[in-house]
């Protein structure tokens, strides 16, 4: 008797050996990330993670990251391998090619690091990163990252809920927004001195206070169980998984509670292309390209890994209520 398979496999779907090998590596990485989170000992480095060189940090941070609360939920997406997460970046302070940040971010000195907390809060001031991290619980979170350029990755971050930190500074009733600023120092970030740049440095981003307080919103200090490499925004970066990647500002030196909606770099540069909200939305296209689908990286040559983009990047259950009654075509 001939039993017909329920799902016929198209020829294009049959996996070439190179891709198959890559997938095996994936699986090792996925397992490895869990094992890593559980591993004790500072800076435990499994052999299969390519050493990016820049993924170094002080021992206290390595220890803290190694002790982070492991991610409890089931991971259904395949993780993007460490080597790709750390070599394919938009971090224009170090160049405009995707490979530039990994090559040129060695000038950034993320330790020691101070963050200024300012604006409408009872407590403000400049704090050492170490002191800020003493106030919060580090957790591993696996998030999808959807870039406005229509590619995406899945990354195991290590960080803490932004809200957990912000509450401790007791924002006042006038704190309607939270504004973030990246380091401004062309010695450490050479492209900030470029005459051809379209961005007015330093890079700035912002969130509405309820977005900032949402439990999904993360301030990350690590990925794949290691301190953030410079090219990924060391030592402290925002991760807002339901918004396009450019909202997730890197190498943060200032967090300010504001009453008015703060200016944000890409929105100021091209307001018709990049909104303040920048929620992932397959129904609202960028003026120069469609946002209905995305290429999940790594993408194979003969099997472009194209998937449908989900509303709020698949986090609608957690965040859709924040935008009730808003016209998302207008507030893109």
């Amino acid at each position: 008797m001939f039993i017909k398979p329920s799902n016929r496999i198209r020829e294009s779907e049959i996996t070439p050996e190179s891709v198959y090998r890559e997938r095996r590596r994936f699986m090792q990485l996925t397992l490895g990330a869990g094992a890593l989170a559980a591993a004790s000992g500072a800076g435990a480095k499994p052999g299969f993670v390519a050493d990016a060189g820049a993924a170094v940090g002080p021992d206290w941070l390595k220890q803290k990251i190694a002790d982070a609360e492991p991610y409890g939920e089931k991971v259904t997406d395949k993780l993007t391998p460490y080597e790709h997460v750390t070599s394919y970046n938009n971090f224009y302070e170090f160049g405009y090619d995707k490979s530039d940040p990994a090559k040129h971010s060695g000038t950034l000195q993320p330790h020691p690091w101070k963050v200024e907390i300012a604006g409408h809060a009872e407590k403000t001031g400049a704090f050492n990163l170490e002191d800020l991290l003493a106030k919060v619980t580090l957790r591993e979170r696996v998030y999808r990252l959807r870039c406005v350029e229509a590619w995406s990755m899945v990354i195991p971050w290590v960080g803490f809920e932004l809200g957990e930190l912000l509450k401790q500074f007791k924002p006042t009733s006038r704190a309607k927004y939270v504004a973030f600023t990246t380091l401004l120092d062309s010695k450490q970030m050479p492209e900030q001195a470029s005459r051809f740049s379209t961005i007015d440095w330093p890079y700035r981003e912002g969130l509405r206070i309820d977005e900032a307080m949402n439990p999904l919103t993360l301030l990350a200090v690590g990925l794949y169980g290691k301190p953030l490499p410079n090219q990924n925004g060391a030592p402290l970066r925002l991760v807002v998984p339901w918004k396009y990647g450019f909202k997730s500002i890197k190498s943060i030196v200032k967090i300010e509670f504001t009453e008015k909606q703060p200016g944000t770099s890409w929105n100021v540069r091209a307001p018709n292309e990049y909104g303040f909200y920048a929620n992932v939305n397959p129904e609202v296209d960028h003026p120069r390209w469609s946002q209905a689908s995305e290429r999940r990286l790594p993408s194979g040559l003969f099997s472009p890994n194209i998937i449908d983009t989900q509303m709020f990047n698949g986090y609608a259950d957690e965040v859709a209520h924040l935008y009730k009654g808003m016209d998302l075509r207008k507030h893109y």
Binding site: S99, E191, S197, T198, I199, R288, F302, I306
Partner: protein, 198 residues
């Protein structure tokens, strides 16, 4: 062999080297997270470089007296076409997965592709008419047809400019080069006109 043949062989090998380099990086899996995009950008950039190279021949022959270069102009132009075709082919195969319905959607959605497509069509037409036989057959019209290369260059420039995100660097450099090459031709035309008047 004659010197010109050696030179032809040498230029051919050098012009093919970028292709060899990207081919090697592809088969040895060194293209990173998004190999398709890397290949498409790489071949597109080399198409533009060869377009500039072929347009630089005339000024170099006229003003720097590099007469030996003239017989190789055609090959430089054909390499611009070669890399442009690689650019389009890798876009169709690696980015779109040969899904042509998406191609037409992209053509409308992404205006920089709308600008780039006719540039490639022009290069194809120029490549097809680049033989000696075609030159003879077209006579005077050959020259006017091949002036379309300036239109192709302009379109390629717009194609780059419309993709600018964080830096104008590339677009500015290409713009300056194009202006210099065009400016030289205007200067030469005036110079010749004055000579005639005398």
């Amino acid at each position: 062999m004659k010197a010109v043949t050696w030179r032809r062989l040498f230029i051919f090998m050098v012009a093919l080297a970028p292709f060899g380099w990207i081919f090697y990086r592809t088969i040895s899996q060194q293209l990173g997270a998004d190999p398709a995009k890397t290949i498409v950008l790489f071949t597109g950039e080399w198409a533009i470089y060869f377009l500039f190279a072929s347009l630089a021949v005339t000024p170099l022959v006229r003003s720097a007296k590099w007469r030996w270069l003239m017989p190789h102009r055609r090959m430089l132009g054909l390499f611009a076409l070669f890399y442009a075709l690689c650019h389009v082919a890798s876009y169709l195969v690696f980015i779109l997965g040969l899904d042509f319905s998406r191609f037409f959607a992209e053509l409308v959605k992404r205006p920089y592709i709308t600008a780039g497509a006719p540039a490639v069509l022009i290069l194809i037409a120029l490549g097809a008419t680049s033989t000696k036989a075609m030159m003879r057959r077209l006579g005077k019209r050959w020259q006017s047809l091949h002036r379309l290369v300036y239109v192709a260059l302009g379109l390629a420039w717009v194609h780059v400019l419309w993709q600018v995100r964080s830096s104008y660097f590339e677009a500015v450099i290409y713009g300056i080069l194009a202006a210099l090459l065009l400016g030289y031709r205007l200067y030469w035309r005036q110079k010749m006109a004055r000579k005639k008047a005398l």
